[in-house]
């Protein structure tokens, strides 16, 4: 059983206060949707949770350990940000190969692309794909690690109805396997995920 706890989190970007006294707790199998207007601090929160931002007030605990002091924490989560982490001048296959090297995990390209029904794109240059297709491929990074938490920054942007449903199903499957998911979103997902906070 894993537990992520945020206590009195206050965060500044430059001199601007973007998060103030945020408290929440998530257990294995739960998904939290963070909603808020542009510039409200959703991405900042995810970057603080992912240990990219380290200068904040308050504490983030994962399994009762302060994430700033836990050296193994970085291997516990997978962060998919708004940038796709794809090289436009390379094919989908070569991009997956680069991730394979970074994550040090061998995968089957055609099998992994089946997640979003994109096996036919394996040899295509990423630059020739639509934004939605790029987003789907960037979300495939979730398959590269055996993480306990997923941090997804605006994952539904550019996705069509079919791929949004596939992603929702992936998240629910991850929850079933005791994974914790935190999603930032501008769209209303209350019908799908009931646990929501507004910042």
């Amino acid at each position: 059983m894993n537990e992520l706890k945020i206590e009195d989190l206050t965060c500044y970007r430059g001199e601007n206060l973007v998060l103030k006294d945020l408290n929440t707790k998530l257990k294995s199998g739960e998904t939290l949707v963070i909603r808020g207007s542009n510039g409200s601090g959703k991405t900042t929160l995810l970057r603080a949770l992912s240990n990219f931002i380290k200068s904040y007030n308050g504490t983030i605990f994962f399994n009762d350990k302060n994430v700033l002091e836990d050296t193994n924490y970085r291997l516990s989560f997978n962060f998919v940000g708004q940038k796709n982490s794809l090289k436009d001048n390379l094919s989908v296959k070569n991009n997956l190969k680069l991730w394979e090297i970074i994550y040090q995990k061998n995968i089957s390209y055609s099998k992994i692309l089946e997640d979003f029904n994109m096996s036919h794109l394996v040899e295509r240059d990423v630059g020739s794909l639509s934004d939605g297709q790029k987003k789907c491929i960037s979300l495939l990074r979730l398959n590269f690690t055996e993480s306990k938490i997923w941090y997804l920054d605006e994952p539904f942007v550019f996705l069509d109805e079919e791929n949004s449903q596939i992603l929702i199903q992936k998240i629910k499957n991850f929850n079933t396997n005791n994974g914790i998911v935190i999603i930032t979103s501008n769209i209303n997902l209350q019908n799908t995920f009931t646990n929501e906070i507004k910042i």
């Binding site: 992912s50 380290k54 940038k83 796709n84 970074i102």
Partner: protein
């Protein structure tokens, strides 16, 4: 670190033109010389010693955007920093791959160019040593400038203004064939400065 090196070398291999950019630019700069100054052997030898440094400086300067900026802009830097928390490891792997991809091709074509410019064998080895140590120092310098200016878009002129004065000591000593120990010392000093400043630049980006 090996995984990072492998990843960057694969990336260079996949975009195979990377290997040819600097060497073709270097050759073009040198080819212009005889058109400007004639084909007098002695004059060409003297000019060669200087112009190779200008070629090397420009080649390294023009490729500095590829050290961190490309990975920053597409989001890969986040993945790299998450997977490899030691910034120093990331920086050292960038030094190695940048030198291998953008400087090594210059050293491969250097013997042919030296032959074309009537450089004697003794002088060739000294030029080679100078360029080797100088290119290492120059890579250290562009790496930290690249890390410090991460996220600043369309600032190649600003970067050039910062980098070129820092290249001047290498150019001054580089044209003197006996001064490879000074270039080695300059490169070592650049390394010490670069590793700290680059890590600081990356930390600023992460925050």
């Amino acid at each position: 670190m090996l995984a990072l090196l492998k990843r960057d070398l694969y990336l260079a291999l996949y975009s195979s033109s990377s290997f040819f950019y600097t060497s073709s630019f270097f050759v073009l700069v040198l080819i212009i010389l005889p058109f400007l100054f004639g084909t007098n052997n002695v004059q060409l030898q003297v000019l060669f010693k200087g112009i190779i440094w200008i070629g090397l400086s420009l080649s390294i300067l023009l490729t500095m955007e590829r050290i961190f900026n490309a990975d920053y802009e597409d989001g890969n830097l986040d993945i790299i920093i998450q997977r490899y928390p030691s910034l120093e490891t990331i920086i050292i792997s960038k030094y190695i791959t940048h030198w291998l991809v953008y400087c090594l091709p210059l050293f491969i074509i250097l013997p042919i160019l030296s032959f074309l410019f009537y450089v004697s064998l003794d002088n060739f080895f000294l030029i080679f040593l100078n360029l080797f140590f100088g290119s290492l120092g120059m890579v250290f310098i562009v790496t930290f400038v690249s890390a410090l200016t991460l996220g600043a878009k369309r600032t190649i002129f600003l970067k050039a203004i910062i980098v070129i004065p820092l290249f001047v000591p290498f150019l001054i000593f580089g044209t003197n064939l006996e001064s490879w120990p000074i270039l080695l010392a300059l490169s070592m000093m650049s390394f010490v400065l670069s590793i700290y400043v680059s890590a600081y630049g990356l930390r600023l980006y992460v925050e």
